[in-house]
Amino acid sequence: MGNQTRHSPGISRLMCFILATASAAACGSAQAQAARDYISIVGSSTVYPFATVVAEQFGRTTKFKTPKIESTGTGGGLKLFCNGVGVQHPDIANASRRITQTEVDTCAKNGVKEIVEVKIGYDGIVVANSKSAPHFNLALRDLYLALAKNVPDPAGAPKLVPNPYKKWSEINAKLPADKIEILGPPPTSGTRDAFLELVMEPGAKTFPFVAGLDKDAFTAGSHTLREDGAYIEAGENDNLIVQKLEANPHQLGIFGYSFLEQNADKIQGSQINGVGPEFEAISAGKYPISRPLFFYVKKAHVGVIPGIKEYLSEFTSDAALSDTGYLSDKGLIPMNDKERKAVVADAKGLAAMTMSGGH
C-alpha cells in the first residue's frame, strides 16, 4: 500500500500537465484567425518551385512575413481560391494552365469578382531517357500512336482499334526496336493535362478521320492513355522518374524541363518534331510541348492582407522574371521582353482579368 501512495501523485501530476496543455491549446484556438499577417498561396505543384523562390526572396528583403505556399495542384488550388473572400481563404492561386470559365463563374458566385491574372513564363514538358540509351527523335504522331489506348487501324481502315504497337520500330521504322515503356504523371497532375492537350490532341489530329470525329469522341479517343503496361503512372514525384530512367535505359519518362536541366548528366531529352528541349528553343516557342504558367490574385484582399502588392512587384521584377533573372536559374522559361512588359504593366495596375480578353 505504501508503494501505492508513492506512485499516485506521479500519475496525477502527469494528468495535470496533460490537461493544462490541452486547455492552453483550447484557449489559443479562441483567438484563432482574428487576422492574418502573412500571404496565403495555394495551387500548382509546377509553379510551386518558382513561387517559393520568390516568396523566400520577398520574406528576406521586405519587412513582411514569408508567404505560406501550399502545393495543392492547379484544380484544387483554384477551388480553394474561389471559395470566397475573407482571411480564411487564400489570397493567391498558382496555376499551370489558364483559369477556366467554370472556375471564374464559381469564383463570382462566391463573391470573388475581381481577379488579377499574372503570367510568369513557360514550362517545357520533356520526354527523356537515360544517357546510355539511343537518342529519340519523336514526332507528336509517334507519341500519340505509342500512348493512346485506341489508335487508328494500322491496316488503314478509318476506325479506332485497341493499340497493337509493342515496339517503337512498329510505329516508325526510324525508331529503335525497343519495347514501348513510358513513365508519366497520374491523372491528378497538371503536367498530364498539358501533355494530353499539347501532344495527344495534335498527334490524333494528324489522322484526318480522327480529327473529323465529334468533340466527345475525339476527346475520348485522344485523352485515354493505354492501360496495358506501356504507360506507367509513376506518381507526382519527378525525381523518382529520373531515377527509374537511369536504372532502366529502355524506358522513356515525361516530366518538367527543370528536372532535365538539373539531371543533364544522367538523362537526355528526346527531340520532338526535330526540336530538342533546350532553353532557347522553348522560350522562342519552337519546342512544341510548352505551356504558360500563371498566378491569380484576389483583388479584394489587396490592402487587407499586408504585402500582396509588394509580393506582386517582387514576382514581376526584372531580377526575378527577366531572362537572366533568378527564376530562369530555377528552370522557368521566361517570356520575351515585349510580353513581359505587358504583363508587368497589368500587374502593377492590378487590372482585373476578363476571360475573353486573354493576355
Binding site: L19, A25, G28
Partner: protein, 430 residues
C-alpha cells in the same frame, strides 16, 4: 504411420523420432531465415539511409577576405540599425571573390563567378555585422556559403569529368572552384543551418527545424487531447458501464474506427475544423485535432486491454477494505494499467508522427520558412518535409531528404524512449 501388429509403443515412437527431429530443425531454420531476411532489409534500409544522408551534415564553404566597407554598409555613417539591416551584403562577398580573380572582367563571366556564391553569403555577413558593428571598416577572412551546385561538385555527387553541357557548372566556373581548392580556401564545415533553419529553395540554406517544431506542436495537441479522453473512455467502458447492447455497439464502432484509412480523418478535419469552426489552414492545432481523432481508437483499445489485464482480486481486495469504486480505480487499477496504456499511446503517437496523408487535406503540405511560434502559426510536419524535398529538382536535396528521414527517426526514438522511461517509472508488480 499406423502400428504394425506385434510392435510396441516404444518402437512406433523410435520410428518417428528422427522425422520429428528433422521437422523441428526445418521449422527452426525457416524461422531463423525469416529473421535474417528481416534483419537484412533493415540493414539495407539503414545503410542506404546513412550512406545518402551523412554528407548533408557538412556544407561547403569558401574563405573570402571580406572588406567590411563602410561606404557600402553604412554610407550615412550613423550606424542606424535599419541601414545596417538593409545594406547590400551580397556585394561585399562578390567584391571579395572578384578581387581574387582580377583577370575575369567580362560582365557575363563576372555573373558566372558570382553565381558560385550562395545568396546565404550576404545573409551571413549581415548577421555578423549586426552582431558586431565594430567590424565595419575592417578586413576579415570569413568562411561563407557557396551555391548548392558547387557543393554537389565538391562533395563528388556530380563528376567533374563530364562534358560541359551536362554539368551545372561550366568549365570557367569549375576552374575557379579548383583554383580555390588549391589555395585551401574551400572546406566542408558542419552544416548548422540544416538543424536551425526552416525550408528554403536554396538547398544550402534549407533546414528541418520548422518542420520539427511543427511536428512537435502537432503531437503535443494530439497527446493532450487523445490521451486523457482515451483513458477516461476506457475506464468508463471497462469499470463503470454496464454491459448491454449499447456498449457492445460502441465497442464495435471503436474497433472499426481504428481501421479507417487516415485520409478519411483528413477530409473530416477539413469539413469540421476548417470549414465549420473556421480554424486556420496549415495550423498544427488542426493537424493535432485530426491526428487525435485518428489516434483515439488505438489508445482506447490498448487502454481497455490494459485494464482487463489487472487481476480481479485487486479490485475485490480494495472494495473489501472499504474503498469506493472511484478509489479502487484511481488508487489500484489505474496505476497497474498505466504501463499498458502508455504502450498503446506510444504506438498511436508513432503512427501520428509518420502520417502525411490527412495533413494534405488541411493545408500542411506547404512551404514554411519561418519557425512556427505557436500551434496556430502556419507550419508543416516532418514526413511532409521529406515528401516536399524528395520532389525538388535540385540535386543537393537528395542528401537532405535522407537526412530529414534520419531526423524523423531520431524524433521517433526520443519520443519512444521517453514513453518507455515513463512506463518503467510506473511499472509495478504484485
Amino acid at each position: 504411420m499406423s502400428s504394425k501388429p506385434g510392435e510396441s509403443v516404444k518402437d512406433v515412437v523410435a520410428r518417428g523420432i528422427s522425422r520429428r527431429y528433422r521437422n523441428e530443425r526445418i521449422f527452426r531454420a525457416l524461422g531463423l531465415g525469416a529473421l535474417c531476411i528481416g534483419l537484412g532489409f533493415l540493414a539495407f534500409f539503414f545503410y542506404t539511409l546513412i550512406a545518402n544522408s551523412y554528407t548533408a551534415l557538412r556544407q561547403t564553404r569558401v574563405l573570402l577576405d571580406i572588406n567590411f566597407d563602410a561606404a557600402v554598409i553604412d554610407p550615412a555613417g550613423n550606424r542606424a540599425p535599419d541601414d545596417l539591416a538593409t545594406a547590400d551584403y551580397q556585394r561585399l562577398a562578390r567584391d571579395a571573390l572578384n578581387a581574387m580573380f582580377p583577370d575575369i572582367t567580362a560582365r557575363a563571366e563576372r555573373r558566372e563567378l558570382n553565381a558560385l556564391l550562395s545568396s546565404g553569403a550576404g545573409l551571413e555577413l549581415r548577421s555578423l555585422v549586426i552582431g558586431t558593428p565594430t567590424l565595419i571598416g575592417t578586413k576579415e577572412p570569413v568562411w561563407l556559403l557557396v551555391d548548392d551546385d558547387v557543393d554537389v561538385v565538391v562533395k563528388g555527387h556530380m563528376s567533374r569529368d563530364l562534358p560541359e553541357n551536362q554539368r551545372r557548372l561550366n568549365d570557367r566556373q569549375l576552374r575557379v572552384v579548383m583554383a580555390l581548392e588549391q589555395q585551401g580556401r574551400i572546406e566542408q564545415r558542419f552544416n548548422r543551418y540544416f538543424f536551425t533553419n526552416g525550408d528554403s529553395r536554396d538547398p544550402e540554406l534549407a533546414g528541418i527545424w520548422s518542420a520539427t517544431v511543427g511536428s512537435f506542436f502537432m503531437l503535443l495537441v494530439t497527446l493532450a487531447l487523445s490521451f486523457p479522453v482515451a483513458v477516461a473512455t476506457a475506464i468508463y467502458l471497462e469499470e463503470f458501464a454496464s454491459r448491454n447492447r449499447w456498449t457492445d455497439l460502441i465497442e464495435v464502432n471503436i474497433n472499426n474506427l481504428a481501421a479507417v484509412p487516415s485520409i478519411v480523418f483528413g477530409l473530416l478535419g477539413l469539413a469540421l475544423f476548417i470549414n465549420l469552426f473556421g480554424l486556420p489552414r496549415s495550423a498544427p492545432l488542426v493537424g493535432g485535432l485530426v491526428l487525435s481523432l485518428m489516434t483515439l481508437p488505438v489508445i482506447i483499445i490498448a487502454s481497455r486491454a490494459a485494464l482487463t489485464a489487472v487481476p480481479p482480486s485487486i479490485r475485490e481486495a480494495a472494495l473489501g477494505l472499504g474503498a469506493s469504486k472511484m478509489q479502487m480505480v484511481m488508487h489500484h487499477v489505474l496505476p497497474l494499467a498505466m504501463p499498458g496504456m502508455l504502450t498503446g499511446t506510444i504506438i498511436g503517437m508513432a503512427r501520428a508522427l509518420g502520417e502525411s496523408a490527412p495533413l494534405l487535406m488541411i493545408g500542411m503540405v506547404a512551404f514554411i520558412v519561418d519557425i512556427p511560434k505557436s500551434p496556430l502559426s502556419p507550419s508543416t510536419a516532418l514526413p511532409v518535409q521529406v515528401y516536399l524535398w524528395a520532389d525538388s529538382p535540385e540535386r543537393a536535396f537528395v542528401e537532405r531528404t535522407s537526412a530529414a528521414i534520419v531526423v524523423l527517426l531520431v524524433f521517433l526514438l526520443v519520443m519512444n524512449a521517453t514513453a518507455i522511461l515513463l512506463r518503467k517509472h510506473f511499472e509495478r508488480r504484485y
